[in-house]
């Protein structure tokens, strides 16, 4: 019953989309009069139907309706209610339905919130967005329908991967999707604006809200994923340069570049083509990311769903969209007002272009590292992987000039500024930063060459942004975000040079000495829980001054049979003590890993600060 409701409402949504596609294409023949009402009602029907369909899936999960194949594959009656609900989007079919839901609702919001703008532009945006929606609807209905019926009805489901039973991960995908899908609106509206010849200040002001929103969600989504990896995967790091992580980072670089460029467009009416190219690229990267993750083409520790036929569908769909965008771009490019006023060298415009160049560089590095193994395997057949050193080697040196520009850039004025007025106090701050970092490098005996300039510029940005809080020459949101970034860089650097790691095989009762600490494996007990058994170990880590107790767990789930390690983490504002243990073989030895990670809290906190900057920028009243 629920299955049918969900399924049929998807079909109704498909009809509504096709209707919308035809209606909105009228606008090309300049018959855009009186379309508003029709489109509004069709859009409402579409969003409502997808919403119903999504809720019927959640409902099927809540009541454990195993006649639904998706529920059977991903749920279990003993699972806690919260994870039953989050399980509905934790799988391939459900997550696509969530994508679709956000797509339609965003379009609906876009349509009702843009009434002041040119009608042709709005309807064209609907047209492009409907193309994407139809693609997704067909994809869901024909390759990954979440409402497939099972008969005879099984008595029990096969469970959800217990690794996914985690609060951070339960809300991580929806938030990331909000960011991804936001970029689709930017894509459609950029194409529409291009066709209408209205890539100008008004459009920039309007679309900026969407850019900011997508950026906030993407940032928070990446943060949540990273927090999850930190305490669930048990490796004690927060970023592994794993392909699936990189895939969410790539649109973020692009979107950050767009975020800055759109401000220039809004204020100065230049860089039109570049803005359009960035809009197209951001969305292509989001979709490309979905393709890479969902098709199983990537060799990653995170991929879950793997079905080549699905991959081929997304790939073809993506190709159609990209080709469409390229054609439109080249046909309508001449409509862009060729504003040839060259920006002066020392101006905010140039500073922002510099930011864009850096973003594009970081993006290319991550892109090359992620897809190079795929290309190489297809072309030469050899299997390789690209490790973290690749990214570090290429990104770290370029962070140095990047940080410098970040500190100086926002101070420049629009149009033209004079570099010779660099103030004495800035030079003082710069010297102070170098002195502090020299002291740090000496004190901790760091041997890595790049650390000194990185620290120096990190501190420089830190001081400059703090000082900026007392001046008036840029916006609050910018100050907070840039300050957050300096904090982020500094905490990562401290974390990088001071982190300590120790691993050993221990029996119950064993003691190990590490640095000035004693790690004692005190006891081990078995705890029976509702849907899993748990081995809870108790470790005591003591030095001369204090001691802490840590209780990591190994959980054994029944449905499906899976082993997971739950790290024990003792977090303070100064540092984290991270301990995880693992069963190797039933011979009394347990594999134990202890990590001392300074300033982890500050890494999370600084990313939150960066997104707070974005939120402020969104909330700010225009002018």
């Amino acid at each position: 019953m629920i299955n049918q409701i969900g399924n049929y409402s998807l079909f109704i949504a498909l009809f509504a989309s096709i209707f919308l596609l035809f209606q909105s294409s009228n606008v090309i023949r300049n018959k855009s009069k009186n379309l508003d009402g029709k489109i509004f009602s069709a859009l409402s029907v579409q969003s409502l139907m997808v919403l119903i369909s999504f809720f019927s899936l959640i409902f099927a999960f809540i009541v454990s309706d195993f006649s639904n194949e998706t529920v059977y594959n991903n749920s279990h009656t003993t699972k806690p209610l919260f994870y039953k609900i989050s399980g509905s989007w934790g799988n391939h079919e459900g997550s696509l339905l969530l994508w679709l839901l956000v797509l339609t609702i965003f379009l609906f919001i876009f349509f009702i919130s843009s009434k002041k703008l040119l009608n042709k532009y709005r309807i064209l945006t609907v047209l492009f967005q409907e193309l994407i929606i139809i693609g997704f609807l067909l994809f869901i209905l024909f390759t990954s329908n979440p409402f497939l019926h099972l008969f005879p009805i099984p008595k029990e489901g096969t469970g959800l991967n217990p690794i996914l039973q985690d609060p951070a991960l339960a809300i991580h995908p929806p938030i990331l999707y909000l960011g991804y899908v936001g970029t689709s609106i930017i894509f459609s509206s950029a194409l529409a604006a291009l066709v209408c010849g209205m890539v100008n200040k008004i459009w920039a002001k309007h679309i900026k809200k969407w850019v900011v929103i997508s950026w906030i969600f993407l940032t928070i989504g990446i943060l949540l994923g990273s927090i999850w990896a930190y305490y669930e995967l048990g490796w004690g790091g927060f970023w592994f340069w794993d392909p699936v992580e990189n895939v969410s980072l790539m649109p973020w670089f692009c979107l950050t570049a767009l975020f800055h460029t759109i401000i220039v467009l809004e204020k100065r009416n230049i860089y039109q083509s570049w803005t359009i190219i960035l809009s197209i690229a951001t969305f292509s990267l989001s979709m490309g990311g979905t393709f890479l993750v969902r098709s199983g083409i990537l060799n990653s520790i995170h991929t879950f769903a793997n079905d080549p036929s699905r991959g081929i569908f997304i790939l073809c769909f993506l190709l159609v969209l990209v080709l469409l965008a390229i054609f439109i771009f080249f046909i309508f490019q001449k409509k862009l007002s060729n504003n040839l006023t060259k920006p002066f060298l020392a101006s905010k415009e140039t500073a922002i272009i510099v930011n864009n160049w850096f973003m594009m560089f970081f993006l290319s590095v991550v892109l090359v590292g992620t897809v190079y193994p795929i290309f190489l395997e297809v072309i030469s057949g050899s299997k390789i992987s690209v490790g973290p050193p690749f990214y570090q080697k290429l990104i770290l040196p370029f962070l140095i000039p990047f940080l410098l520009f970040m500190a100086v850039g926002p101070k420049l004025k629009w149009i033209k500024d004079n570099l010779s007025k660099i103030k004495l106090n800035q030079i003082m701050l710069f010297i102070l930063s170098i002195a502090i970092s020299y002291f740090i490098v000496k004190f901790f005996r760091v041997s890595y060459l790049l650390i000194l300039p990185l620290f120096a510029l990190g501190f420089f940005l830190f001081f400059v942004t703090i000082k900026d809080f007392f001046s008036k020459n840029s916006t609050m949101s910018q100050k907070i975000s840039h300050f957050g970034f300096s904090l982020f860089i500094l905490s990562i650097l401290f974390n990088g040079i001071l982190a300590k790691e120790f691993s050993s095989n221990m029996k119950v009762g064993d003691e190990r000495k590490y640095l000035n600490k004693i790690i004692k494996f005190e006891n081990l007990k078995i705890v029976e829980k509702n849907n899993y058994k748990s081995l809870v170990a108790n470790f005591k880590i003591s030095d001369e001054k204090s001691s802490i107790n840590l209780s990591p767990e190994v959980r054994i789930y029944n449905q499906p049979r899976t082993l997971t390690s739950e790290a024990a983490i003792n977090s303070t504002i100064y540092s984290d003590n991270f301990l995880v243990f693992n069963v190797i073989k039933n011979d009394g030895y347990y594999n134990v890993r202890y990590q001392f990670k300074p300033l982890m809290m500050w890494i999370w906190f600084s990313i939150i600060l960066i997104s707070v900057g974005g939120i402020l920028s969104y909330l700010k009243k225009n002018e």
Binding site: N161, I163, L233, G234, N299, I301, H302, F304, F361, S364, V365, V368, G369, Y372, S382, K383, I384, S385, V386, G387, P389, F390, K393, L394, S503, S504, N505, M506, V554, P560, R561, T562, L563, T564, S565, V580, N582, I584, K585, D587, Y589, N591, V592, R593
Partner: protein
């Protein structure tokens, strides 16, 4: 002669051009240095020369081959044709088990001894690293 503006522009184009070349050069160099190749125990047997480069070895953890002491874990990776002894100091992932697929990253000491620095696994109980699966298919 050329005006000042033209010269300035030419200078900038040159600068951009040079930095582009420099970047591409850096990327390629970093790729060369940090690419990790994947090999099976049989491929290692047939290697003509041993390089002191990081590689990955994949296969199945041989049944009852894991031996643990205070600091090390020793085990054998097999692809059912050839095997290689692996010694490892450090922490292993959840799914490291006898009879299951494994990928070890590290350095070859000789054709039958591998010093691992990292053991990889995926968080899915049904998971077989793709490379491992292919090897096992070929040799079964």
């Amino acid at each position: 002669m050329y005006g000042k503006k033209v010269k300035l522009r030419a200078f900038f184009i040159l600068l951009i051009f040079l930095s582009a070349i420099l970047t591409i050069f850096l990327v390629i160099k970093a790729l060369e240095e940090n690419v990790v190749y994947f090999k099976s125990p049989s491929e290692i047997k047939n290697l003509s020369e041993l390089e002191n480069k990081k590689i990955r070895v994949g296969g199945m953890v041989k049944k009852s081959s894991i031996k643990t002491n205070d600091s090390e874990i020793n085990f054998i990776i097999t692809d059912f044709k050839n095997e290689i002894v692996v010694s490892f100091e450090g922490s292993v992932p959840n799914l490291f088990e006898e009879g299951k697929g494994v990928v070890a990253e590290g350095f070859l000491k000789d054709r039958s001894y591998f010093k691992a620095v990292k053991i990889l696994a995926k968080h899915d109980e049904n998971y077989m690293p793709p490379e491992v699966n292919e090897i096992l298919k070929d040799n079964k």
